[in-house]
């Protein structure tokens, strides 16, 4: 046993996530967690091999981290959070002596670059430009509407802006008035601007190994940032072949060989798929929990296995179940944001608790009554989980309770 520990190469998780740690721990493979120094005492107390690291330093420091990880016989670095994607890229470049790995990871960290790359690869994208000043945004808003033959300033078609390198919905704004541009802080630039896309929004979680998609989950969004469920409804799943083809194109375009991809798309009623953006990290919105609940495998473990080039084909085939048909039902959740400034009471309807689809919720009256301001979709104050057979019922539940005031 001791010999094995000494010889076996280890996996590095970049970022502190108990779920990820628990998952890799259950895989019975040696690992090290790289995370903020404040977790060191906890890691030590629990026998978790830990390297303290601040990821908010320039990437040039990665050599120092690499030296430490090399000492530990690390064979692969796996990013947990958006901010650690390029760190994983750099470390894997150094470990595998392949500089391109890092460059590829940068594509995934810059929304404007990623859009260009997708566009080049022939994916459908909205109209987009980069903004460095408020003037740029004004110009884009105006020109977009001119292109749509809309000169009615009061009723401009909206555009979207988002920072190049923020996760998910952080810093995302929808703009249809000049005044709204003024609210943007100068520190938020540069921004990516894009035309508004109509259609059904969804995300994919693609587990890629050796450049091949080994498992593809489709997550149906009911309301962006609020509710989603897995697997998608039959209406959306009927487009799976087309979606899979798009994902494969994406994998090829971004030259992804190992790991997970978490892209977001829009599907128009006629079946056209528009590319929104893509990340190479664990998705938010409890998507991994849903996958685990319906398919019975741990997506965190899936990520680890796919990130490791040494994982065999047989191992992966045994690990991943059949898509959609093997799902035990639909798993969905609603993230709850207080609609009040100060919380005094929880208001959870009995009908909700008695609904057969209701699994659990984790809402408590917070210790500080004052509600924090939202950044992006910000911190939700708890989630409600549902599980059931019928995707229509799931969708209507999520829509219905989205309107409910859980916090009074």
């Amino acid at each position: 046993m001791e010999m094995k520990e000494k010889n076996e190469k280890i996996t590095a998780l970049l970022g502190w996530s108990l779920q990820a740690i628990e998952a890799i721990d259950k895989l019975n493979r040696p690992y090290v967690v790289v995370g903020p120094p404040e977790f060191k005492p906890f890691a030590d107390n629990n026998g978790i091999l830990f390297v303290p690291w601040q990821f908010n330093v320039p990437i040039e420091h990665s050599v120092e981290l690499y030296e430490q990880l090399k000492e530990l016989n690390t064979k692969v670095a796996i990013p947990i959070y958006e901010e650690t994607v390029e760190w994983a890229g750099m470390l894997n470049s150094l470990i595998w002596e392949n500089p391109k790995v890092f460059n590829k990871s940068l594509l995934l960290r810059d929304k404007s670059l990623m859009k260009r790359r997708a566009h080049l690869a022939g994916l459908r994208v909205g109209v987009f430009e980069e903004a460095f000043t408020k003037e740029n945004i004004k110009h884009f808003l105006k020109r977009m509407n001119e292109a749509l033959l809309n000169t009615d300033e009061e009723n401009f078609e909206p555009i979207h802006v988002k920072p190049f390198d923020k996760a998910g919905t952080v810093g995302h704004r929808m703009i249809s008035k000049y005044e709204e541009i003024e609210e943007i802080d100068d520190s938020e630039f540069p921004l990516l601007m894009e035309s508004h896309l109509e259609g059904q929004e969804f995300s994919c979680e693609a587990f890629v190994h050796n450049g091949k998609v080994k498992f593809l989950n489709i997550t149906e969004y009911v309301k962006l940032g609020h509710s989603n469920f897995v697997p998608a409804s039959p209406t959306l799943e009927q487009w799976r072949p087309q979606i899979r083809a798009t994902i494969e194109k994406l994998v090829e375009a971004f030259e992804v060989t190992h790991g997970i991809l978490h892209p977001e798309f829009f599907l128009t009623p006629d079946g056209t798929i528009y590319f929104g953006e893509v990340a190479a990290r664990i998705p938010g919105g409890h998507i991994f929990e849903h996958i685990e609940r319906v398919y019975g495998f741990s997506p965190y473990q899936g990520q680890v296995l796919c990130s490791d080039p040494d994982t065999t084909e047989e191992e992966l085939n045994a690990f991943f179940p059949e898509e959609v048909v093997s799902a035990k039902g639909h798993s969905g959740n609603l993230m709850v944001y207080p609609k009040v400034k100060s919380i005094n009471k929880l208001n959870i309807p009995t009908e909700l608790k008695e609904h057969p689809y209701f699994l659990k919720h984790n809402m408590f009256i917070p210790t500080t009554a004052k509600v924090a301001e939202r950044v992006g979709y910000g911190n939700h104050y708890g989630s409600i989980y549902f599980f059931g057979e019928d995707s229509k019922e799931m969708r209507s539940l999520l829509e219905e309770y989205e309107k409910h005031n859980f916090y009074l």
Binding site: I21, Q301, I365
Partner: protein, 673 residues
């Protein structure tokens, strides 16, 4: 693949459990099933991952605890809580560290902490009932813990049915109510009532000026009387209830204060004398005063002055001070004794019994003193304005209380032990200085004190030791403490660079010149190490212990610094108390009798060091400890270098005993040089 194994594991355990607990499984509610699964998932998780699964358990426990039927379900699983990791990583993890006085606060929080607290009580109940064997808590200890928790929080037990339908009870309070009802069923009300009586006795025997907390306890204890509790407890509780309400035949009949006053008009002098005697007895026995007592005294003051001494429970000394100061007493009652300030009757009684009061001029000055608007504001919070008592009346009532109960001054929940101790010392030994300060503070909202020849004015200072002083203080403290606190802080600041503990100079200037000039602190202020502990102990024995100090008795209290420690002997912080006297008790053991401004003098300091407030000849407001136990908690004291015995006469074994206690408690937080 691993996940699949885990799934299988979970399902096997699930199958097993119903066999183990046949009874419950027959009619498990869906909620119970969910709770059981959540608890098992938590149990299966590795320690580092427990926090991922604790929330689900809390959430479902929350749901269960919101109905009375859920409580026994929670109890069925309570013996597994520790093992499953329900409390892992939080303040509730180690049940031996929990203390009953903190439970109520947590249960009254909204949100998650109140739920964890509730689960912790269920765990302790499991220990008490023997379904869970804990290695360091016995069943008796667990029961005692819960009895105390209930005694301290009886208001949470009060029936929710009787309240107005329109007022919705908040969820967390409803849960707490369910918990206490369940605990009440499972434990004996009799033990709770007994604990309750002890708690009230413990607090009243110290005779604090501010009795709000005691009265709250007495009021909530009423709830217990209907239950199956021992006659002895009922008798004691009823005694306290009467003392704060109607302890006499006439007051029992009266519907309100007005009605009582009308009845007094009709009563014969014999009846009045009986009333007076009964009020006085009740007050003497409990230290608590009935509002009707104030009505009687105001009545007697106008018509039957000769019965006043009886109603005030005066001793011979008291009667002679009464006779010498009739005019003054008459005016004090007229101005300051109202049902709202009834507690000052006790103060008046004790003040007169102290005798030798040369205060007429000073006190009369307060009758009509123009009071600063700021002070007026602070004092008017003290009582309702309905009965026409003036601000000066409140002030005088406060002064009477302080003079009558100098050891009843409390610091409330404020970090103002220095100031409270100062007021107490002056009320005993420098009444003139006290009056002077009260006058200045009330009129000018300023106090002036000199430090090494330089004047310090409190109104020019910003910072004090205590950041926020709440109002749970007596009127004199309300007026003086904000100033004293700032001045004390300023004096300490001026000694910061002297390389020695500033108390050496500050105490004499602040409290009074009668504080001896010798001073010693165990902590070297430069190295912050415990230095020369042996000589610290020997010197204290040689200057204070009657067997070693060549008969130099203490004339004035000694303000000393102590390390406050909790029940586990762990250091909580520094605290100021004063040693009142040092004497041998009835068993011949030498004890230190001291005044503790925190009014909670029976705190358990760990290592079996428990200050007592009665049973060893303690006077009202005094606490006492065996000499060596007290010394083991001290870090600084004053001494008179001209009145001491020889330190070499103190045996090494005596020092060792003290040093062991010190090293194994607060001493762990310091380096010993």
């Amino acid at each position: 693949m691993t996940t699949i194994t885990r799934e299988r594991k979970t399902s096997t355990t699930r199958r097993k459990t119903p066999v183990a607990r046949k009874k419950a499984s027959a009619k498990q509610s869906p909620l119970e099933v969910k709770f059981e699964v959540a608890l098992q998932t938590l149990n299966a998780a590795k320690p580092f991952a427990k926090s991922l699964y604790q929330t689900d358990v809390y959430q479902l426990a929350n749901e269960l605890a919101s109905t009375p039927e859920g409580m026994p379900i929670l109890f069925n699983y309570a013996h597994q809580f520790d093992e499953a990791g329900v409390f892992l990583g939080g303040e509730w993890e180690d049940p031996t560290k929990l203390q009953p006085p903190f439970v109520g606060g947590s249960l009254r929080l909204r949100g998650i902490y109140s739920i964890v607290e509730l689960l912790s009580e269920m765990r302790i109940l499991a220990i008490a009932k023997g379904t869970y064997k804990h290695e360091s808590i016995s069943g008796e200890e667990a029961s005692a813990f819960l009895n105390e928790v209930i005694a301290l929080n009886l208001d949470l037990l009060i029936s929710t049915d009787s309240t107005d339908d329109n007022i919705e009870i908040e969820e967390h309070l409803l849960r707490a109510h369910n918990l206490f009802t369940y605990l009440g069923q499972e434990l004996s009300f009799s033990a709770i009532a007994d604990k309750m009586v002890q708690e009230i006795e413990r607090m009243t025997v110290q005779r604090p000026i501010i009795t709000r907390r005691i009265i709250e306890l007495i009021e909530t204890s009423q709830e217990l009387i209907g239950n199956d509790i021992e006659d002895q407890s009922v008798f004691a509780l009823e005694k306290y209830l009467r003392a704060t309400d109607a302890p006499t035949p006439l007051s029992t009949e009266a519907t309100d204060h007005r009605d009582y006053r009308l009845k007094l008009d009709q009563a014969s002098e014999e009846v009045l004398a009986t009333e007076a005697k009964l009020f006085a007895d009740s007050m003497a026995e409990t230290g608590l005063v009935s509002p009707y007592h104030a009505v009687l005294i105001r009545f007697l003051n106008r018509k039957y002055e000769y019965i006043l001494p009886t109603s005030l429970d005066l001793t011979e000394i008291g009667i002679s001070s009464f006779t010498d100061n009739k005019g003054l007493i008459h005016d004090i009652i007229q101005l300051a004794i109202y049902p709202e300030t009834r507690q000052a009757i006790y103060g008046l009684s004790r003040m007169l019994n102290r005798g030798d009061l040369q205060i007429e001029a000073a006190l009369r000055q307060l009758f009509e003193l123009p009071v600063h608007a700021h002070v007026k504001g602070a004092l008017s919070n003290f009582v309702n304005e309905e009965n026409g008592i003036s601000v000066n009346g409140i002030l005088v009532a406060g002064v009477v209380s302080v003079l009558g109960q100098p050891l009843g001054i409390g610091q409330g929940q404020n970090a103002i032990c220095q100031s409270a101790r100062a007021i107490s010392l002056w009320a005993q030994f420098n009444v003139e200085k006290l009056f002077d300060m009260i006058t200045h503070a009330a009129r000018d909202n300023n106090i002036e004190m000199s430090f090494e020849g330089e004047l310090i004015n409190s109104n020019l200072l910003i910072d004090g030791v205590a950041s926020n002083i709440n109002q749970d203080l007596d009127p004199v403290s309300i007026i003086l403490v904000p100033h004293l606190d700032k001045i004390y802080n300023e004096m300490m600041k001026r000694t910061l660079l002297r390389g020695e503990d500033g108390h050496k100079w500050v105490n004499r200037e602040f409290y009074g010149e009668w504080i001896p000039s010798g001073f010693i602190n165990v902590i070297d202020p430069l190295t912050l190490k415990v230095t020369n502990y042996t000589s610290f102990v020997k010197l204290f024995y040689a200057t204070h212990h009657p067997d070693y100090n060549e008969g130099h008795n203490m004339l004035y209290p000694n303000p000393v610094g102590i390390f406050l420690t909790n029940v586990h002997g762990e250091l909580l912080g520094l605290h100021a108390v004063s040693i009142q006297r040092i004497e041998k008790d009835q068993n011949g053991e030498c004890r230190i009798y001291f005044y503790n401004p925190n009014n909670d003098s029976t705190q358990n300091w760990g290592q079996d060091i428990k200050a007592s407030v009665s049973g060893f000849g303690e006077l009202e407001g005094e606490s006492s400890l065996p000499f060596h136990e007290f010394v083991s908690r001290m870090y600084a004291y004053h001494y008179n270098p001209y009145e001491q015995g020889d330190t070499y006469m103190v045996e090494g074994a005596v020092v060792e005993k003290v040093e062991m206690l010190a090293k194994n408690s607060w001493g762990k937080n310091y380096v010993w040089a």
